[in-house]
């Protein structure tokens, strides 16, 4: 038996591409959730009310200090006990989004802190309402600066989606295991899966590096 069989590799390609689609879907939706929720966390961490800050800080630290897989299992197996039944991919997106939101929150915080004090003072001197200080002055300056950092977390998340196999999501790696199992030929399946990851991660990383240089000029 050859180590590498081209015919077999070609035959499993459609299934792998199906899996890749799921991986991309989970990454895109998970990222959107992480970007939104992370911003909410970052703002709540600056809330005037002390208890709100403590609560959010506690939650963020807790999520960061526990494994993503445990969180996904928790959402998948424990929530149904409380009547919340979600399908696997939804749980996957929630888990990824929530987990990475605790990291993006920190990224946003750094971006917000980097906005000079004078900008806040000018906004105050013009009596701008609070929401407008954020949406018109602070965030438009903070967010572009942190886009590369946010992008790096998207790549990280992309590479962690295979954890979703644990709750039965057929992502790229899930499909590879599946089609490999048919004839116990794993070399082609896992090699191709790895290649797909490489083909997407590496150019993205290069793109981000270029973005980083451009943002650096700002």
């Amino acid at each position: 038996m050859d180590v590498w069989n081209w015919d077999f590799a070609l035959s499993i390609l459609p299934a792998l591409l199906d899996g890749l689609l799921i991986t991309l879907l989970a990454t895109v939706l998970g990222s959107l959730l992480a970007f939104t929720l992370g911003l909410v966390f970052a703002l709540l961490l600056r809330a005037p009310l002390g208890p709100v800050r403590v609560l959010v800080r506690g939650f963020v630290e807790f999520v960061r200090s526990t494994p993503l897989l445990v969180q996904i299992f928790f959402l998948f197996y424990v929530l149904p006990d409380y009547g919340v039944v979600l399908n696997a991919i939804t749980v996957g997106v929630l888990g990824l989004g929530l987990h990475y939101a605790t990291y993006t929150a920190e990224v946003y915080r750094a971006g917000i802190d980097a906005v000079p004090r004078g900008q806040w003072e000018a906004a105050t001197a013009l009596s701008l309402p609070r929401y407008r200080v954020w949406t018109g002055v602070v965030l438009p300056q903070a967010v572009p600066r942190v886009l590369p950092a946010l992008g790096n977390y998207v790549i990280s998340m992309f590479k962690e989606t295979p954890l979703l196999i644990g709750i039965g999501v057929f992502d790229l790696v899930g499909q590879a295991r599946e089609v490999g199992g048919i004839e116990f030929r794993y070399v082609e399946a896992y090699t191709l899966a790895g290649l797909f990851f490489l083909l997407l991660s590496y150019p993205s990383a290069l793109l981000l590096r270029r973005l980083e240089r451009r943002v650096g000029v700002l």
């Binding site: 003072e121 000018a122 105050t124 001197a125 013009l126 009596s127 701008l128 309402p129 002055v137 438009p140």
Partner: protein
Amino acid sequence: MSSELSQPTGEATRDWMIVFEGVEKRFGDHVVLSELDFAVRPGEHVTLIGPSGSGKTTILRLLMTLEKVNAGTIHVGGECLSHVRRNDQLVPADEKHCRRVRKKIGMVFQQFNLFPNMTVRGNLIEAPTRVLGLSKAEANARAEELLEMVGLGEKIDAHPTQLSGGQQQRVAIARALAMRPDVLLLDEVTSALDPELVAGVLKLLHDIGETTDITILCVTHEMGFARDFSHRVMMFDGGRVIEDAAPEELFTEPRQQRTRDFLRAVLERH
């Protein structure tokens, strides 16, 4: 110090644009201002001079509510800025109250502080539309008129980063005026400019002083400007007003030794 000018009380606050009474400001243990009383008439131009750390800028920042007083009260246009009356007691003003009263006040900063994410136009129409409720068209008309006045009519769609320091400061002045303030605070507005750009900005401020009836409080090290521009000059030292007089008097025959020393030091440097 002319005590008649400096200590209005009670009903008299209405005849004054700005009234400080017993104001104290500390940063930690460091007392920046103590027992400060002074008042400014509507339309008056008052320049605050004194060594750095003497509390001049803090006065402007208190008026802009960028800092809060530790004791005493501040009135602007007959309204208390620092405190509100609640259940017959004076309590420190909340954010809502501050925002309402400070609409009467505009400020120009040493570092310009234009919003870099907006065009010049955006900088000028932002607050008039969002705070005063002007329509886009009204705010635009006002912006264009003000930019003409500061000599930057053609820069309306430029970004602040494309402008020189002097041009940025002119835009910042126009931005403050777009709010039609009763009081304008100028915080060392030429200190960050290249020397050749200073004269233009000072000329502009001079024109604004001549053509409007805005009450202006100005912190500057430009003594020539202070002399031409102000109706009154207050010399600060150690958080107190040590001399308060018309410029021709204060600059030619200062009464306090401390003022004489300060003026000599400043003149030698320039």
